[in-house]
């Protein structure tokens, strides 16, 4: 199953980055390939020794966005959040905003639960990817596709 395929960093580097990632990282709920740019960003965040798997992370966002100015997102990661086993960071990337970086969160065992919500801007329909990094260095991701309906003609 594509969603659980582990990819060694080396393999990814060897292949033409885009194509390899497109094949390996498939959004769980959709029959679409992960955008190459998201794959590149994810690997850059994961670091040289990391593996990256599509599991354990849930990026929750409405698939149909009425207004791109303020879109609620919740990212949750399956982790006990103990001193021995916890999420250290969550990165959120956008495929088609003017800037791909959306936010980078730092979590600690004091967080207790690996769940973060915020509100973001979306310039257009695109894919979004959340990557969670664990204290053991492993990285997990979730990619979703959102459709942004165009802004109104009623404005100043």
């Amino acid at each position: 199953m594509a969603a659980n395929t582990a990819i060694a960093r080396r393999t990814a580097l060897r292949a033409a980055a885009g194509a390899a990632l497109m094949f390996a990282l498939r959004p769980v709920n959709a029959a679409i390939a992960t955008a190459p740019i998201l794959g590149e960003l994810a690997f850059a965040y994961a670091g040289p020794k990391a593996t990256l798997r599509e599991a354990r992370v849930k990026l929750d966002i409405t698939p149909l966005v009425e207004n791109g100015n303020s879109v609620p997102v919740t990212i949750s990661v399956d982790s006990p959040m103990t001193a021995n086993e916890h999420v250290v960071g969550i990165a959120l990337f956008s495929e088609k905003n003017p800037q791909n970086d959306v936010a980078l969160f730092a979590l600690t065992p004091l967080s207790g639960r690996a769940q973060v919500s915020t509100r973001i801007r979306l310039a257009t329909s695109q894919q979004l990817m959340a990557v969670a990094k664990m204290n053991d260095g492993s990285c997990w991701s979730h990619t979703v596709e959102v459709v942004v309906t165009t802004a109104s003609c009623v404005e100043e």
């Binding site: 409405t62 609620p72 802004a151 003609c153």
Partner: protein
């Protein structure tokens, strides 16, 4: 636009039972944002206004609270505006004229605090108006029975039904006949003024009812009336009457 007009004419004018707040036309995400005070950005303006309420200002070195007491004494006030201005106060010339809540705040600012009036959409003015409106949340809109106000409502209704702009549509065409239809990415609401001042996602900030109405005028390529022009005050008076009895939900959130 033309297609939309052709298909919309079958819609009758809203009867009172069919009146719906603009929030009911928005996405679940926008509704959740308005409903949750810990997330509704309008609450930042409310909190800001409640603090400004207690800060002395102007040559009189008086805060709003010095004369009015706690902000809670403003409960019910926003539900009554626009209204004929009270006859007390130093500028007798203003007495009896219909004014908006924001004009009344500025009146106290100038006549009571002896400070320069805030320009339209000034952050402090919007904050105070938000805090005062918040005190009336849950109360029904209740325009008072005043002859001057009734005249303003009549003039406002006429303006509301007058076709304007290159698009040649009236407020009534859109907000009564076409309410519920899509226009661009938006659903046309019935245009009820229960949430003002509103946090508008498009503005990414809180703004006044006049800003909202001027936006509609620009959208139909009409020249918007100047801020606080008698026409805008009359329109506000009519919209308040049109929404009479509906519950205040300030700070409203709209797309």
């Amino acid at each position: 636009m033309l297609l939309l007009l052709a298909s919309g004419s079958m819609y009758a004018q809203n009867s009172p039972e069919m009146r719906r707040s603009g929030i009911t036309y928005t996405s679940p995400g926008t509704q959740a944002l308005q409903a949750d005070d810990s997330q509704n950005p309008g609450m930042l303006w409310v909190r800001d206004g409640a603090q400004r309420w207690t800060i002395p200002s102007g040559d009189a070195r008086k805060s709003c609270a010095d004369c009015h007491g706690a902000i809670a004494t403003m409960r019910g006030v926003a539900a009554r505006y626009p209204a004929a201005s009270p006859s007390s106060g130093s500028a007798a010339s203003a007495a009896g004229r219909v004014i908006t809540l924001s004009q009344q705040i500025n009146r106290c600012r100038v006549e009571q605090q002896r400070a320069p009036a805030w320009p339209p959409e000034h952050a402090d003015l919007l904050a105070l108006e938000s805090a005062i409106a918040f005190e009336s949340r849950g109360l029904p809109m209740a325009p008072p029975a005043q002859p001057a106000l009734s005249a303003a409502q009549t003039r406002g209704e006429a303006l509301y039904r007058q076709r304007i702009g290159q698009v040649d549509l009236s407020c009534h065409d859109c907000h009564d006949r076409l309410a519920g239809k899509k226009l661009g990415g938006n659903t046309i609401p019935q245009g009820h003024v229960t949430g003002y001042p509103i946090y508008r996602l498009e503005w990414q900030a809180v703004g006044s009812l006049q800003r909202r109405m001027r936006g509609c005028m620009t959208a139909v390529r009409a020249e918007p009336y100047a801020w606080n022009a008698p026409e805008l005050v009359d329109l506000e008076a009519w919209l308040a009457k049109r929404a009479a009895g509906m519950r205040i939900e300030s700070p409203g959130v709209r797309p």
